[in-house]
């Protein structure tokens, strides 16, 4: 059975590469029709991944190896299998969508060739068990993505923003490169499984200085690499500007490529038991990114840019999950977010078209509805506060009782953001409803269902991805930060939420004269957010200065 799995995994890995070359080769013969070769192989890839998944789970083998002791070493676990299937599915959808969407574009076949190459690179990253092999694919992901994004290279803006993506991806390669070097230098191996086994069994512990071990440094570097690749603050700038690329590329990127950091973190999960600092870094980076990404989304007036910043926020949540020890939940989040965001991007073109034809834009605000005539809307106010207070309390109690979720800080974090998201969702959606009570009732049911589903999904993925439950508990324990810091962070964000809700009510309410100071503060923050905290302006200014300095030296020296 293992031989069959090995064979199918090699075939699945090679199909996209073969498709890429064949499509390119036949484009010289049959011109544009060679896209059909790419589509055929996309179907074949999905079929092959599906067969591999079925046989893998039937066979009860949880881990198998191919080409051991070579640079092409493939180490395939349940994580790899799930991600392979997911990426194959997304790839097929994007292939099919692109047939008509990209048809009139110059470079139609080039697009399909690069798309297949990108799928091959993602597959390579997912199945590689050799660190150098993995590093190569990690780097190639950025390069191939650059060429996909500059599809419309006749526009100067496209080239400029494509470079931001490549530059950020290269920055993420450097910590990984150093981590690979340290692994080789101190553990004398490039085999990922051997390295993780040595670290987990505490066979050798190398200490640098001040009790800082090499394993913790490696963990920190790996996490840093994952953070940069996953568009965490302040390395998130490239993500909104990838909208210069074709829509299907945005869909693939938001569904698959930007999640590579979560995959890398999961792949190195046993290492983080010895790298608390790495988990704390992920927690803080994720926290800041989740809040900032969501805030930045609110100030966008372009639907696709809003979606991009929404992805930034979601990547923040994903990194928050990793930082709090919920590695399996991050994989589930990655997949669910990938599917929903890809479908949003693929559908955004149609939505924009429809919106341009329609004049029905609602001006009602939540506070007009609730507080304009308090007597009329009193029952709604009661039901409104119910969702704010009662629903999460009931849920927390039930979950606490069933799953002991509050044993770790991750449980508290999860419920906090679930509550905030639920309330915000109700605020945002209420004006679409004709009968608010019915809307609130069904929203509450849906909300509770979604939360329980999320928790069950975490439980399921934990069993699927981590056979060692002791490792999971250790990760949760190591992810804990001092309670004072944790609750201070929670208190700050809770205050921000409450102040902003109250402020929004006061701003829209009748008596705004006392709010002038707060409006000034609001405008100040709005200006900063609209300019994305001036990070892009800063980067552009200093990169231009660097090039100008180089030019000045060239003019003076000439040779």
């Amino acid at each position: 059975m293992e031989r069959i799995l090995q064979f199918i995994s090699v075939v699945t890995f090679l199909i996209p590469l073969f498709s890429s070359f064949l499509t390119l080769f036949y484009s010289f013969v049959i011109k544009k029709k060679s896209y059909k070769i790419s589509i055929f192989f996309a179907y074949l890839t999905l079929f092959s991944s599906f067969v591999l998944t079925v046989i893998f789970f039937i066979s009860n083998i949880r881990h198998f190896r191919v080409f051991e002791n070579s640079i092409f070493y493939m180490s395939i676990t349940s994580l790899s299998i799930i991600v392979l299937l997911f990426v194959s599915l997304v790839s097929l959808v994007i292939h099919l969508y692109s047939i008509k969407y990209m048809f009139d574009d110059e470079g139609y076949i080039r697009y399909f060739v690069l798309l297949d190459l990108m799928i091959w690179v993602i597959f390579g990253l997912v199945i590689s068990g050799n660190i150098i092999f993995m590093l190569g694919f990690w780097h190639m992901m950025g390069v191939v993505l650059y060429f996909l994004l500059v599809h419309n290279y006749k526009r100067r803006q496209t080239c400029k923003y494509g470079y931001y993506t490549l530059f950020t991806h290269m920055l993420s390669d450097i910590p990984f490169l150093f981590a690979a070097y340290l692994i080789y230098a101190y553990y004398d191996t490039t085999n990922l499984d051997t390295f993780l086994s040595i670290v987990s069994n505490r066979i050798t512990v190398h200490v640098l200085f001040f009790d800082i071990t090499i394993s913790s440094v490696i963990a920190f570097l790996i996490m840093l690499s994952a953070i940069i690749k996953s568009a965490q603050f302040p390395f998130h700038i490239w993500l909104p500007f990838t909208l210069e690329g074709p829509n299907p590329v945005s869909a693939l990127m938001h569904a698959g490529i930007v999640n590579a950091g979560a995959f890398l973190a999961n792949r190195f999960a046993p290492l983080f038991v010895f790298g608390e600092s790495a988990l704390h870094l992920a927690l803080i980076a994720g926290f800041i990114t989740a809040v900032l990404g969501s805030l930045l989304m609110l100030v966008q007036n372009d639907i696709k840019k809003a979606l991009a910043y929404s992805t930034v926020g979601q990547m923040g949540y994903m990194m928050l999950e990793i930082g709090s020890g919920a590695f399996a939940l991050a994989i589930y989040h990655m997949m669910v977010h990938g599917i929903f965001k890809a479908s949003l991007f693929l559908g955004s073109g149609g939505v924009i078209g429809e919106a341009r034809e329609s004049n029905n834009i609602s001006n009602k605000s939540i506070f007009d509805f609730y507080f304009k005539d308090p007597k009329e809307h009193l029952p709604s106010k009661i039901s409104f506060f119910m969702i704010v207070l009662v629903a999460p309390a009931t849920l927390a109690y039930s979950i606490f009782y069933i799953f002991n979720a509050f044993n770790y800080q991750s449980g508290t974090l999860f419920f906090f953001f679930a509550w905030a998201s639920g309330v915000q969702a109700v605020y945002a959606l209420y004006h679409n409803s004709k009968n608010f009570k019915r809307f609130l009732f069904f929203t509450t049911i849906l909300y509770i269902t979604a939360l329980i589903w999320y928790l069950l999904a975490e439980h399921f993925f934990n069993i699927l991805l981590f056979t060692n439950t002791g490792l999971l508990k250790e990760l949760y324990m190591k992810a804990q930060i001092p309670n004072a810091v944790f609750y201070t962070m929670g208190g700050i964000i809770l205050s921000v939420y409450m102040i902003s809700w109250i402020f929004t009510y006061c701003k829209i309410g009748k008596n705004c004269t006392d709010m002038k100071y707060f409006i000034k503060v609001y405008n100040f923050f709005y200006r900063i957010l609209v300019r994305d905290l001036y990070i892009l302006d800063f980067a552009t200014k200093y990169s231009k200065k660097t090039v100008d300095l180089s030019l000045a030296i060239n003019k003076k020296l000439k040779y």
């Binding site: 640079i71 490169l177 000439k558 040779y559």
Partner: protein, 248 residues
């Protein structure tokens, strides 16, 4: 005799500041002669470098070659002429050759890792000179949409050359370095970022954007594509073999 060979090699595989004299001499020549001379200098320089003894682990050589590579990489950012880009790239690769020698790499490494992509790149520049007579980026642009085969080879060769610092870092893996060698790795990583930045700027100027209408464009022939592709594939295969040597 050894001193003579060392001095000669220093002029053929120049390091800063000798590179200024060498480039000044080369730049006075016609574009095609520049390319031929750079190729001859580089190829012969590598053979001469092999003959020089007592360079292994010489910290002075390491320092000068790193500084030279870093300095010319920085200058590469604002180069506006493909000929000058080629000259600066030649100095950077020369610096890497000296660095590899001081690390203890054999001649086969720079022959098979450096040379193939550099030869293809030089061939593409030769093609541009032949076709257009000038290689200034302000005159040529948008070749990607009118000369796709040329563009693919140009970009592939450039990206392979740009990854040479990483190959050197990989070789340093085997040394299991300590102390000053960490600084070498860090500097090489920074050079890698900058050389890619410069490469992307060149690609943007030559391959991307809109083509200039007053030129007549004719792509490279099928035979030339096959030959250049074979050289690049050879380098890719050798790179994988090279990386595989480090795999345990």
């Amino acid at each position: 005799m050894e001193i003579l060979i060392s001095v000669l090699t220093l002029f053929i595989l120049p390091l800063f500041p000798i590179s200024i004299l060498v480039n000044k001499f080369i730049f006075k020549l016609e574009a095609k002669k520049q390319i031929i001379l750079v190729f001859l200098f580089f190829a012969s320089g590598i053979f001469l470098l092999e003959k020089i003894p007592h360079i292994k682990d010489n910290h002075l050589v390491v320092l000068v070659s790193l500084l030279s590579a870093a300095f010319y990489t920085f200058r590469l950012l604002s180069v506006e002429s493909v000929s000058r880009y080629l000259l600066f790239l030649y100095v950077i690769l020369s610096s890497f050759a000296w660095l590899c020698k001081s690390i203890g790499l054999g001649m086969t490494i720079y022959l098979f890792l450096f040379m193939p992509a550099f030869i293809v790149f030089m061939a593409m520049v030769w093609f541009l000179v032949n076709r257009f007579g000038v290689v200034h980026d302000k005159i040529i642009s948008g070749l990607g949409s009118v000369m796709p085969k040329f563009s693919l080879l140009f970009v592939s060769a450039l990206f392979l050359i740009q990854n040479i610092p990483v190959m050197i870092i990989m070789e340093l893996f085997k040394k299991q370095v300590a102390g000053t060698w960490y600084i070498v790795i860090i500097v090489l990583a920074v050079i890698w970022i900058f050389v890619n930045w410069a490469g992307v700027r060149l690609i943007e100027q030559i391959i991307f954007l809109k083509p200039v209408r007053r030129f007549r464009y004719k792509d490279i022939s099928f035979v030339q594509v096959v030959l250049a592709s074979m050289v690049l594939v050879f380098e890719i295969v050798y790179t994988i073999y090279f990386l595989g040597r480090n795999a345990v």
